[in-house]
């Protein structure tokens, strides 16, 4: 492999590998698609205000989808030398010959023009050294220790490349980088959390993540007990992200097809309060990428507009099966669902965070949700915990910290009670899924009329 020492494989090398794989499959009456996810991920993790896990790995995976008529097979390998590719192709050919027919398979999608998207790649991030991350971690740890707090979290730099080729002529390639810092500042009797993400390590707000978590952690000490129940809430973006992630997972063609989506049969109807949720692959402040994991152009889609269900997203297979247009939101094979909104933006409102808090007479400020899981998908009921900074709001002021709650709440019904939307959006990315940070969301602070807290814990 050429250029082994760099974090980036490069378009030339990935195209060589992908096209080599397609050639190895052959063209004997069949179609093939080569998807490559390549990633150099480096993460410096700290706890008790010292680095304890510090890792870097260089990974690249080829997913080869072969279709012969309506028979389909997928082979995945990270052995990208000539022998590994030949083996993968031979395995795929063997499997596809044995696979049962799938009469509903619509074929590997033909290429379509892909528009330009803003770049989400920074050479500075790709070239970050271990000492760059360690020094940033030290800044964060020192800030916490200076205030008598412990620090746990990480500083990470990631370079990821997505490439798709097919025997029908598809070629799509996109490199991205992320620099990320997360911090839980922890005192003897309370903690607080902050997170920052940027494409560019030089623009990663390391001081900001430390300042936010440390100042909030100082205020979070000695939490009081408070009765669970239905409370008015102001949710920080970290908590709002969770709501957007759960709901957007239901805004897919397959979820509607299988009767699992809260918008099923309700297109054009009001499903939430006056919020607008977009999927915008071209958002320059998000993680833009103009195509999906099938190399198909990704459309900008308005999912919910001022509370009204407008659309869901599709991959080629679900679109074919259900007679809809492919919006270009395919996930990779094996992702657990075939498509998802990946570039989500919950549109900003007009109020500052402070104004939203001031508008609450009795309520809660929630920093973050934790361990959230479906209780009932169709009703979008989710349970989870609050974590790392939960406060009582009294007469428009943050009054005192409270012990964490369990909630059991329908997320889309919670959005039915939107009372205010923050005027700033925060970019947040989840941990890598299927070998890549495939999704992102930009979300504001939200003020909701009611949230159902069904239990409490001891801290």
């Amino acid at each position: 492999l050429s250029d082994r020492s760099a974090a980036r494989w490069g378009e030339v090398e990935l195209r060589r590998i992908a096209e080599g794989a397609l050639r190895a499959v052959g063209t004997d009456g069949q179609q093939a698609e080569a998807l490559i996810i390549a990633r150099t991920g480096s993460l410096t993790r700290f706890a008790s205000a010292a680095i304890h896990q510090n890792v870097s790995s260089r990974e690249a995976e080829l997913r080869l989808r072969v279709a012969r008529g309506t028979r389909v097979a997928i082979v995945t390998t990270d052995r990208l030398d000539d022998e590994g590719i030949r083996r993968a192709a031979a395995t795929a050919n063997d499997l596809v010959a044995r696979a049962p027919e799938d009469p509903r398979f619509g074929g590997i999608p033909a290429p379509r023009p892909i528009a330009d998207a803003p770049s989400a790649y920074s050479e500075r991030t790709a070239e970050a050294a271990p000492l760059d991350r360690a020094r940033a971690a030290k800044v964060i740890c020192d800030a916490a220790r200076a205030k008598g707090l412990s620090a746990a979290g990480f500083v990470a730099t990631n370079t990821q490349e997505l490439a798709v080729a097919s025997t029908l002529g598809t070629w799509a390639y996109s490199p991205q980088t992320t620099a990320e810092a997360q911090l839980a500042a922890i005192g003897d009797e309370g903690s607080a959390y902050a997170q920052r993400v940027s494409h560019d390590l030089d623009r990663l707000d390391v001081a900001g993540v430390a300042a936010e978590a440390v100042s909030k952690a100082l205020a979070a000490q000695r939490p009081r007990e408070m009765e669970p129940g239905d409370h008015e809430v102001v949710l920080e973006p970290y908590a709002v992200y969770d709501i957007v992630a759960f709901l957007s997972g239901q805004l897919t063609g397959q979820a509607v097809e299988e009767g699992r989506s809260f918008v099923g049969g309700r297109m054009g109807e009001r499903v939430t309060g006056p919020v607008t949720l977009m999927d915008d692959p071209f958002d320059p402040d998000g993680m833009p990428r103009a195509f999906d994991f099938e190399g198909q152009p990704s459309d900008r889609v308005t999912l919910i507009e001022h509370g009204t269900a407008q659309a869901v997203v599709y991959d080629s297979g679900t679109a074919h099966r259900t007679g809809n247009a492919n919006t270009g939101h395919a996930l990779p094979p094996g992702a657990g669902q075939p498509s998802a909104p990946m570039h989500r933006r919950l549109e900003a409102g007009t109020a500052t965070r402070e104004e939203l808090i001031r508008s609450v007479s009795r309520g809660l400020l929630v920093t973050r949700f934790y361990y959230t899981r479906w209780v009932h998908q169709l009703r979008t009921i989710v349970t989870g915990m609050t974590r790392d900074g939960t406060f009582a709001i009294i007469d428009g002021e943050i009054a005192y910290p409270v012990k964490n709650f369990r909630f059991t709440q329908s997320y889309h019904e919670a959005l039915g009670g939107v009372r205010g939307i923050g005027n700033e959006l925060m970019l947040l990315v989840p941990a890598e899924q299927f070998g890549i940070q495939a999704t992102a969301a930009r979300v504001p602070v939200l003020h909701l009329a009611s949230f159902s807290f069904t239990g409490a814990t001891r801290f």
């Binding site: 492999l1 082994r4 991920g41 410096t44 993790r45 700290f46 706890a47 008790s48 205000a49 304890h52 896990q53 510090n54 790995s57 990974e59 690249a60 995976e61 097979a73 997928i74 082979v75 995945t76 990270d78 993968a88 044995r98 696979a99 049962p100 027919e101 799938d102 271990p130 000492l131 360690a134 020094r135 971690a137 030290k138 746990a152 979290g153 990480f154 911090l183 839980a184 922890i186 299988e258 009767g259 094979p333 094996g334 934790y370 361990y371 959230t372 899981r373 479906w374 209780v375 998908q377 169709l378 349970t383 915990m385 974590r387 369990r406 059991t408 941990a431 069904t454 814990t457 801290f459």
Partner: protein, 486 residues
Amino acid sequence: VLGSVERDLGLRALDTARSRGASYADVRFVRRDTEDALVKNGRLDSVDRGDSFGFGVRAIADGAWGFAASAVMTAAEMDRVAALAVEIARASAITKRSDAALAPVAPAVATYETPVVKDPFAMTFEDRVDLLVRAEAGLRSQRGVRTTRARYSIWREDKLFLSTEGADIAQRLIEVGGGIAAEATGEGELQIRSYPDGLRYQNGGGWEVLEQWDLAAHAPRVAEEAVALLTAKQCPHDVTTSLILAGNQLSLQCHESCGHPIELDRALGSEASFAGTSFLLPKMLGSFRYGSDQVNIRIDSTSPGGLGTFGFDDEGVPASEGWAVKDGIFTSYLMSRETAAALGTRSNATMRADGWARLPLIRMTNVSVMPGTAGTLDDLIADTDDGILMDTNRSWSIDDRRFNFQFGTEIGWEIKNGKKGAMLRNPTYTGITPEFWGSCDAVCSPSEWVMWGTPNCGKGQPGQVGHTGHGAAPARFRNVRTGVIR
């Protein structure tokens, strides 16, 4: 099985790490072969075969840790990755507060293989997928079912571990899993019923692991229950009652509320920002009443069939067995060499990594609730005047110190006067861990005990997926809050 080529490359990596200043280093080669197949709604939805091979080097230099990994198997790449691991370790040292120290272990030269009756990788694809096709067809025999799924997963990992202390350990681990599930929709409801445990059931062993459940024979019942749940009685809201958990649900209850809090890295704060910490503090060892005297929970990486069964962990520590909770008292943590040293003891072999590209972490091995003397599930129901039986997990959540949990199951049944009564839909229960286990007054006998598995346990940053084993039999808990949703 990995051999001399990898060994030579690995020894070179260790030499490079040493020459760059590492006081300790190990290298792991991991080759993983997998195949997942899903039959859905009468068609083969996907067959995905995976093949992964690479290596990772872990090093201590200047008293701190570094780790680097790659899939490129050349001598030059061994040198680059080993040197990078040392460079990363030196960078880590700029924040260190004490030197990394490891509890001693005798360096082993050994091999281990999962015993299998029927090697799933030696079968034809047609034979494997036929089991799914037959089972899934049985699900579609019931009117009203909307989505049907049958899935299998076969998994094989060859590993070679070498350390600067002289360890040289080759292992082959094989697992098989799968199941069937039917979804029904209507009446504003979406209901799912599965067998034997969602689609996530998995064990160590060969194809016999899946065959033993006879999926096709159970498919009509599973589908019938999914449809019946649409019109079943809603689990009564906010009722405190006696709760019997089926073994598959008790296994996850154990995983979440015992397995995770006994991870010593959590208790010492290593996971504080992500997975969380633990309410079980080191000062509680040997004295804290975790549960009633009916509660006996074992840590055992030698249990046949467990997903946490192996010869050696990924630090080269031999498999072991011991008590996590004995007669209700918290007795031991899951430990690594480094965390064990912090307590002045030795590792009990729990460090495992998700493939070659990830650092070993403390992971549950087989953490099992040992059987009691309450007889069969029918005996336990007959012994219960009033309560609810809940079966097969659908929802799970617990706080970051592992106190407050809430679970939902696919199905429940009322128990009235010692008899199983009406079916209940959307059953849920919630509690506080030591109070809940403290309310356990009966665990069924060995005849009801099954080794269940959790092949999807997330932990660590970057994220890792762990495979953990949990033996369990049905058990009864008193005064549990049930019916969280209306």
